[in-house]
Symmetry: C2
């Protein structure tokens, strides 16, 4: 019950394995009736060429690109994956998937295993701060980072305009008349966290407003944390009259706190989310297209694959996916 090989097909068709191989490849250098016989035999046997052997022989690559993400259950990353898969498909590549659950050690192992499998390229949403273990370029495997810039690594990357989006959203808070803007953010160590905080600060400074450290809370990881942090801000003697939240978890936590206390705080945040329009609160959200981020990452990678035969290595590239501001009204649609 072993899978049939070209030999089996050739035998059945009464030709040499070579002829069978050629016929199957639609090579023109084979007689029409011979080809027909070979195809018939292949069909009867249910023959499938063994891609492994073929690739080995042809010295070709696997046509596999490794994708390593921190959390596939996060719709953001699954959309990134979707974009990558789409572009990969256009180029005849397949995606092999790994989830790290934000565990750097798992990431390291995954990348190692992918390398052994001879992936053609690697796209990573890195978990940790140091990326030296992702250096597959030495093996001739290009690497692209998604959503976070490389550190200790020369690799292309695609980023979101964290700074610009945060700045713009914060500006809107200010032009809306608010003067005491607070910040609910990620751990400072996270790159996106610091960029978004920088955007927040710059927007305030441009408006001649100093950043008030009392209004800055960081490191909330869950909606509950964020709600708690926001309540603390609202309980200050002179509470903030506006908040910029660095991600949707913080935005949602803030929303809960604000709705519960009935405070007059204008809310802005990074990341758009479903149902933002029905919360019944005015909302300024920074939106972007994760799928496009994935597509760009894949394009970058494929560019490297195509260029590999070509000239010298070009320096690492850095692409930025733009953000847009979405505003939602506070009145439920009637």
């Amino acid at each position: 019950m072993n899978a049939p090989t070209v030999r089996d097909v050739a035998l059945r068709a009464g030709v040499s394995p070579m002829t069978a191989s050629r016929a199957l490849q639609l090579s023109s250098k084979v007689a029409a009736d011979t080809r027909a016989r070979v195809f018939a035999a292949a069909a009867e046997l249910g023959y499938r060429p063994n891609e492994l052997a073929r690739n080995l022989r042809l010295g070709r690559s696997t046509g596999l690109i490794g994708l390593v993400v921190t959390n596939l259950a996060n719709p953001f990353y699954s959309q990134v994956a979707l974009g990558i898969e789409a572009v990969a498909r256009e180029h005849g590549l397949k995606v092999i998937l790994g989830n790290t659950a934000e565990d750097v050690e798992r990431e390291r192992r995954l990348v190692e295993e992918f390398a052994l499998r001879r992936i053609d390229g690697l796209i990573v949403v890195p978990a940790g701060g140091d990326h030296s273990h992702l250096a597959l370029q030495k093996l001739g495997v290009p690497v692209v980072l998604a959503a976070r810039p490389p550190s200790n690594l020369a690799a292309d990357c695609v980023l979101v305009d964290d700074f610009g989006g945060a700045r713009e959203a914060t500006m809107r808070l200010i032009t809306g008349g608010r003067r005491r803007a607070g910040f609910l953010g990620l751990p400072a160590a996270a790159w996106t966290g610091s960029e978004r905080f920088r955007g927040f600060c710059v927007a305030l400074n441009e408006a001649g407003i100093a950043v008030d450290e009392r209004y800055v809370r960081r490191g909330q990881r869950t909606i509950e944390d964020a709600e708690k942090a926001c309540r603390e801000l609202l309980a200050l003697v002179e509470p903030p009259d506006a908040l910029f939240c660095a991600n949707s978890r913080n935005t949602l936590g803030a929303f809960r706190a604000i709705r519960a206390t009935g405070a007059d705080v204008e809310l802005a945040g990074f990341d758009d989310f479903e149902l933002a329009d029905v919360l019944g609160v005015p909302l300024i959200l920074v939106a972007y297209d994760p799928e496009e981020l994935g597509r760009e990452a894949a394009r970058l990678l494929i560019g490297r694959l195509d260029a590999k035969s070509g000239a010298a290595e070009s320096p690492p590239r850095r692409l930025v996916v733009p953000t847009t501001i979405r505003t939602y009204g506070g009145t439920p649609s009637r």
Copy 2:
């Protein structure tokens, strides 16, 4: 700049390729100092064994399981993928990913390509109604369907308790005092759609209530469609006083229509979703664990892989993932 092979390592270590190979495999039948030399050489060269060649030689499988889903951007399927990846990882398998965008032709091609790549097994969320093109079992590749049962195909599958969940939620509407329940559903062709409708009907019948066809609308594919359909129901001379929605899109559309009209309609639906608790409307939702569904599918597949060397084929298995009812209050948390 070609990747180094065992030969290169052997040359450098001053041994034969065979000895190098053995040393690298940690075979005991090699002198300690020889092994050390081989390892040193391998390290200096940055040697990586070529999995392709190794697998070819060993006649082994690729250790790849194909995952084909209809829409990776759907959080449901990405969670399924996460569950599959987790179990696959435990068993040293990797997941190769394909997205069909609900296109049966693409699904057919993807499965074909996966088969050529000699995947060990296949998990599919099938797009269409007929699954005969998924019959890889003839090639010795087990197939597991996720979320939908096989038709024209002998394959294992893991389903959600569509019927039970719908029945239970509908019962809750009735015990809540409602008598005129409507149904907002999927196209009847969709298996989940018909099962959920069946659950709805049975619950009504058990309560001695006849299904009123005026209150049944199907085939809504977007939230907007669902809202429109719901508005039509609410505009009837004797509108329904309760609604069961077959998926979250319908639930959200119904929510919008109900909130906009202020109608007194109790709402139930299949699929839990983020923010369900802040909508300010009482909600009865059927929840389940997509990740668990993925894990079960992977376990089923791996069971087949393990059993392949063993006895005769056992008949197709069908697993059902349970649902739970979640109720959300109508009063915003204060």
